[in-house]
């Protein structure tokens, strides 16, 4: 190998190591979405962070190989057109490429599968008698989400309020067309399908105000089917809010249907 080419390879490899390390250090400082509002969000954020940290060196390696190839194989404009060269495979390079690609892809698949399985498994609580998940029903209708709290008398609310100290079990359904309940910061996204109950669990971890939106095209106001007032609050604040909401709902409580995971609207309510 000519000395010049060896020097170039050393420069590129050295630059790759330095830039990869510096880039990964900088990337690790970034606040990756969706955040740490819940256990699901936290594991998704960690997975995205790992993906980013792996992707940066790979991206640099591809760019470095491209630069190296372009530089080494360049032809001066005035040079005569060279005869076609006989190219032979480089078994070491091919083996390294196949092995590294396989390792990366399988590694990502395993990481993704572990995250997915963890996110869809109800965590066990290290108590003698684990507290039952706190159930909140998400009711979608064109074009708004409302929420029912079956363990608190079944009252309903315009806004999602979540106690921070409980594991939450969402039950998502729809009264008309298919919607999708997307609680982005919590890493929760569940389709709201009429006459179906779609459940998802999460453990709140960060008090704050969050956004809810519909992620299934559902009609003219789909783009407005959102709420910026969803909150994860302390147990005390939640209890205070629940008492106030129960008082506000008192006039309509006798008209609400018994709590159910799905609802069949009365035929007269179909407008036809």
């Amino acid at each position: 190998m000519p000395q010049r080419r060896r020097t170039l390879i050393n420069i590129i490899v050295g630059s790759w190591i330095v830039l990869s390390a510096a880039g990964d250090l900088a990337l690790d400082l970034l606040p990756f979405p969706p955040g740490a509002a819940t256990d699901i969000a936290g594991s998704e954020t960690q997975l995205i962070r790992i993906l980013a940290l792996m992707a940066w060196p790979i991206f640099l390696a591809v760019v470095g190989a491209l630069v190296f190839t372009l530089y080494v194989n360049r032809v001066a404009p005035a040079a005569a057109e060279p005869d076609a060269q006989s190219l032979r495979g480089n078994s070491r390079a091919q083996t390294a490429w196949i092995a590294s690609s396989t390792t990366i892809v399988l590694g990502l698949a395993i990481l993704g599968t572990i995250t997915l399985v963890n996110d869809t498994t109800i965590p066990t609580v290290a108590h003698a008698e684990p507290a039952a998940p706190f159930e909140i029903q998400v009711i979608a209708q064109q074009w708004y989400f409302t929420y029912r709290y079956p363990s608190l008398g079944g009252f309903e609310s315009d806004h999602l309020m979540i106690p921070a100290d409980r594991e939450i079990e969402f039950h998502v359904t729809s009264l008309d067309v298919t919607h999708s309940f997307w609680f982005f910061a919590a890493g929760v996204k569940a389709d709201a399908v009429p006459l179906h109950d779609n459940s998802v669990d999460m453990q709140p971890q960060k008090i704050g105000t969050y956004r809810i939106e519909c992620s299934e095209l559902c009609g003219i106001w789909h783009g407005s089917m959102s709420d910026d007032h969803a909150q994860i609050v302390s147990a005390a604040d939640f209890n205070t809010w629940a008492q106030q909401q129960q008082q506000l709902d008192a006039p309509v409580m006798k008209f609400l249907p018994p709590y159910s995971h799905t609802y069949v609207p009365a035929p007269g309510a179909y407008g036809s």
């Binding site: 315009d158 009609g219 407005s224 006039p251 008209f255 407008g271 036809s272």
Partner: protein, 209 residues
């Protein structure tokens, strides 16, 4: 031959102008707006403005005379409301439609109004039986939702109507969409098509400036 080409050219031009006019009308045409009228009253230090609408089973005019609609003072379908920022809207809705019923009974509750109630024909109410609702006036972003009591079969009056009054605060400048939550678009999928998805009928915008 020349005459034929001339006629053909003329026809193409006329058709082009017609299509352009149709598209222009389709794109820029908006229902008339309802502008809140000022009063000398104030609530909690905020000026009170009046808005009056009428709900009917059939608009009787416009491109969809058979559609259920909110009407302005002139009897035209209209759901664009202009109101000043940081004010209180005193809304009066002359509800002349019969009940359809709510899909979600929770919308039978009055919420987001100044005192959490409304007046129906002068009587204060905080909720209605969801099966008796003809429409709702709901602004999701402001948390305002008022069910509108349907006219009963034996109700007197010419036309028979329920006068629904309520007050709600208007925040700073912005555009707030509002809609009816009674699936009253008869003959459409789940009753939520047609007028329910058309600005000027059962969906509208509150423009605060």
């Amino acid at each position: 031959m020349r005459l034929r080409v001339a006629f053909l050219g003329l026809g193409v031009v006329i058709a082009g102008v017609g299509i352009a006019l149709f598209l222009t009308q389709f794109l820029i045409k908006t229902p008339p707006a309802v502008t809140a009228s000022a009063t000398s009253n104030s609530t909690n230090g905020l000026p009170v403005v009046n808005v009056t609408l009428t709900t009917v089973a059939a608009a009787g005019t416009g491109p969809h005379p058979n559609w259920v609609a909110y009407l302005n003072d002139s009897g035209d379908p209209s759901t664009y409301i202009n109101a000043p920022a940081n004010s209180v809207i005193h809304m009066t809705i002359n509800q002349q439609d019969t009940p359809t019923g709510l899909r979600n009974e929770y919308f039978g509750l009055v919420r987001g109004t100044i005192d959490g109630s409304m007046k129906v024909n002068g009587k204060t109410m905080q909720a209605i039986d969801p099966t008796t609702a003809a429409h709702t006036f709901t602004i999701p972003d402001l948390g305002v939702s008022v069910p509108l009591l349907g006219v009963s079969a034996d109700q007197k009056g010419n036309p028979p109507q329920n006068v629904v009054e309520f007050d709600f605060k208007v925040p700073g400048p912005g555009l707030y969409r509002w809609q009816c939550f009674v699936p009253c678009g008869a003959g459409t999928l789940y009753g939520n098509g047609g007028p329910m998805q058309t600005l000027g009928y059962m969906a509208g915008e509150l423009v605060v400036s």
